[in-house]
Subunit: 536 residues, 2 copies
């Protein structure tokens, strides 16, 4: 992945004239392009690893699996959050690991953790490096140095149990590699986060990742039947039984541990038969309330699509405005919708996957949508969405280059609270953008449906301007406070990392924090694992 | 509930002549009836509570909510496991709480916990008192005394969110009371463990209870969206959001804590529309493998029934032999099945519930069952099963009276391991019964289906004889060892309690145990909560 953004270095989508015009209208005059600095101009402090520790690391994992060169250190200097990218593009990351260490086995990983404990080295687990909440920031904490513990060599498929429909993989395996392996055998995991192209499965587990099709397939936490955590104090290996009443749920405790308790270096996941058909289609609702009401019906009346997302009026407007003539705009046309009384309404994308049963479910869903006043738009919008489902991070790079701040944040709440939370958080972001950035654009969609509620995913754009990280922080603060006030969770699938840590105490309470700290002390007594993340 | 067994004291089903004859044939000559001793002949040590603590307890919860009378102490002297009942019926329980304390509010509960910490009193949370694994044994641990913390007064429905389909209840609310409350509003929780008539929702949460219809509704852990634990160190209150990536999964950590970390005194649960129809029916399979193969298809091909259970050959034989002429036997007849080549096969009960969609699911299921060579038996067997779904604990009392040892134990494993584990555990129990009890009867059924596996539920019977608790212990030991060797979990839904504690370390490892101990130290620093349970 390119060090300053997303994707391979060759790829550049650019921004079309329609997008540039819309951005100008919405945000004000764009500055000229601000490309990232050259890699060699990125400033890093010298690595400070003691020579003894360095030699020992090389002995454990092999010389070529301990990297200290500029390029590798830069690639492990940050995740892919907005402030990460801003700093990287300017050539001024906050820091970099003293070494990038790539263990090739569980035993090597354990030996590295033990060395880190002995040598007072912080270890930052690094899978795909896609965290958008500061989860892989190379912070040393109170230690003499910090290494990135890159799991890329722990990437094998350990076992496939075709009868039980489970697959056991090493934590560093990337999602696309697993999907290819499964597809060749007629199976799928069904985990497709926007970061799909780069994420590791261990990283997904550590951060409670939810894929776009989580309404049907469940978030990663629903897929995990067993896992192994390599903690400094020892391993916790939980067998892949389908369920157990053997005390507190340790599986779900390790899921979401964000590298602060150890490294999830092996996990067993439920898989499913690959769907024979994927039916993705559009629907249009008069307004956001009508749309959320329909989604709620789908979730509660056994008509759950694999994927469901409903854009609010603002996001719908921008989506339609930006779509090319071959896309949504051409196929539907604002005029058409307007003529039928849907101007200013909300676009939904619903995806049904399966090998027969999904068609029955879809039929029920269509009836519920009609009953809620929804207008079926057919497969065009669904195909457009599918074709660009992983495009947003690429687009973000282009926006940054054109001087636009763009960030996303998300929450989840009960159905009864969804409209209120949508309003509260959207208003808070907009108000802060007006205050600090002279205005901006706030959009939202509902996705990741559950019987009892759903998530809200906000995107906001503004001109980058000066002090952009401070401005970003002010918006995050306003949004996080609004989420807490409004009864949402501080994060539905981005995790806590560094950025959400100020609110964790509000969400789980002081005693909850104490409980997590006690666990941390037990499993990571020298506090070497991913300092400065998760726990305040 | 009657102090020496199950149900109200008036009720006594007796054992019919057919049952007595079968037991004689299978187990050998039954001894004459051994009824329980009279309540006044139950021997208890005197309560040893210091008068200061007693006064303070009375001040906190009110005089009449602190009980020290013989009857209440006996009722809280044990759960409903086999050794519990043997000891109670003989008038020799292991011990009894020094007082039964019934807080009437969260604040009273907190005050009681604080008093217990100050006064070195152990507190044993007591909901329905239905534990079959020693979970409510009144053990004082290292403390001066022990109280039963009876939650019966914490039994209100706090809030119903009709739009989100969640209900918030106090932990002491009984399952039937909640179902009545919900039924009046067209809703159901769908949680029907065999102990349904007496369990509290907080107790279900604390023990990871799974209802008979968990294949469709999920075990309690799937229903809980939020909860509050009153721990000695403070409260942990987790909001009822549908999902969250805010760090480790504390909800699932508190679920299954078995009263050792605190009292789950409030919880929010997902509910569902009450089904308009319940279709329960029978199917017959040539053998156990054919039946489990069919159940696996139902679970993996989106044809999951709400309830599914498949008896092995032995359980099927006994079920048919015991059923009255109005029941299974009359309606089907061994002859009928035999003529079609199913003699010696396996009976399954499948239940579909819903308001339309379930019929489509059932149709798919029937096709899969036919393809697996299953024979549809219609609704007769399903109705018979429904009518007696909560009868087993009553029957157990009658068996004990007639000198029969009867116990159940359960596990869960992946589909690929189910046949092997069934054989291993069944053989281990049978071998130990032959060794210690001169033989006996071992039966099993598969239930609680998941996409990746299912549970196995064993029932065994033998003559009680002398040293019956030692014999029971030997069988539990053999079965538990076989479960661990065979790759199962030590418990699917009975919890750990006291009886399964020897195997927890094998299941979650030494580091897993250390993690739970650290958590316990933090939340319950004086170790007052439910000593001697869960953790070795």
């Amino acid at each position: 992945m390119r060090w300053w953004g997303w994707g391979e270095s060759e790829r550049s989508d650019g921004l079309g004239p329609r997008t540039l015009r819309l951005l100008g209208e919405e945000l004000g005059r764009l500055a000229g392009p601000r490309p990232p600095v050259a890699l060699e101009h990125v400033h890093l402090e010298d690595a400070t690893l003691a020579s003894g520790a360095l030699e020992e690391l090389r002995r454990i994992v092999g010389e070529r699996h301990v990297r200290q060169d500029h390029a590798e250190r830069v690639r492990h200097a940050a995740g892919k959050g907005y402030p990460d990218l801003v700093r990287l593009r300017a050539g001024k990351p906050e820091g970099a690991p003293d070494a990038v260490v790539m263990p090739g086995s569980h035993e090597q990983l354990r030996a590295v953790l033990e060395l880190c404990q002995r040598s007072s080295l912080a270890a930052v687990p690094f899978g795909g490096g896609t965290s958008v909440v500061g989860g892989v920031a190379p912070l040393a904490g109170e230690h003499a140095g910090v290494i990135a513990l890159d799991t890329r060599r722990l990437a094998s498929v350990v076992a496939l149990d075709r009868s039980s429909l489970t697959v056991t993989v090493e934590g560093g395996l990337r999602a696309p590699a697993l999907e290819r392996h499964l597809a060749a055998r007629g199976l799928t995991l069904g985990h497709f986060p926007q970061s799909f192209e780069y994420v590791s499965l261990g990283g997904c587990a550590a951060t409670r990742s939810a894929g776009q099709a989580s309404s049907g397939y469940g978030a990663i936490e629903k897929m995990i039947v067993g896992l192994r955590l390599a903690a400094p104090a020892g391993d916790i290996a939980l067998p892949p039984v389908p369920a157990s009443a053997a005390g507190p749920g340790l599986r779900q405790l390790l899921v979401g541990s964000e590298g602060t308790l150890g490294v999830i270096d092996q996990l067993s996941l439920r898989v499913r038969p690959a769907p024979a058909e994927r039916l993705y289609e559009g629907a249009f609702f008069r307004d956001f309330d009508a749309g959320t009401g329909a989604l709620r019906m789908l979730a509660q009346e056994r008509a759950m699509p694999e994927l469901a997302r409903l854009s609010d009026e603002q996001e719908t407007r921008v989506t339609l405005a930006l779509s090319s003539s071959g896309g949504l705009r051409g196929k539907l046309g604002q005029a058409y919708l307007g003529a039928r009384g849907y101007r200013g309404g909300c676009l939904a994308i619903l995806g049904f996957e399966g090998s027969g049963e999904h068609r029955v479910r879809r039929k029920r869903a269509r009836a519920l949508i009609r009953a809620a006043g929804g207008l079926a738009l057919g497969r065009g919008p669904g195909e457009v969405w599918l074709a660009s489902r992983f495009a947003a991070p690429y687009l973000r790079d282009e926006l940054l280059t054109h001087g636009v701040m763009v960030e996303t944040l998300e929450t989840a709440t009960q159905w009864s609270n969804l409209a209120r939370l949508h309003r509260l958080v959207g208003d808070a972001i907009a108000a802060e953008l007006r205050r600090g950035a002279g205005g901006g654009l706030v959009m939202c969609h509902v996705s990741h449906l559950y019987e009892t509620g759903a998530s809200l995913y906000f995107t906001f754009l503004a001109l980058r301007g000066e002090d952009e990280i401070e401005r970003w922080r002010a918006v995050k603060q306003a949004a996080g406070d609004a989420i807490m006030t409004g009864g949402g969770t501080i994060t539905h699938h981005h995790a806590i990392g560094r950025d959400h840590e100020p609110w964790l105490g509000q969400e789980i309470g002081a005693t909850g924090i104490s409980a997590l700290r006690a666990l941390k002390r037990e499993l990571d007594p020298r506090a070497i694992m991913n300092p400065g993340k998760l726990l305040p």
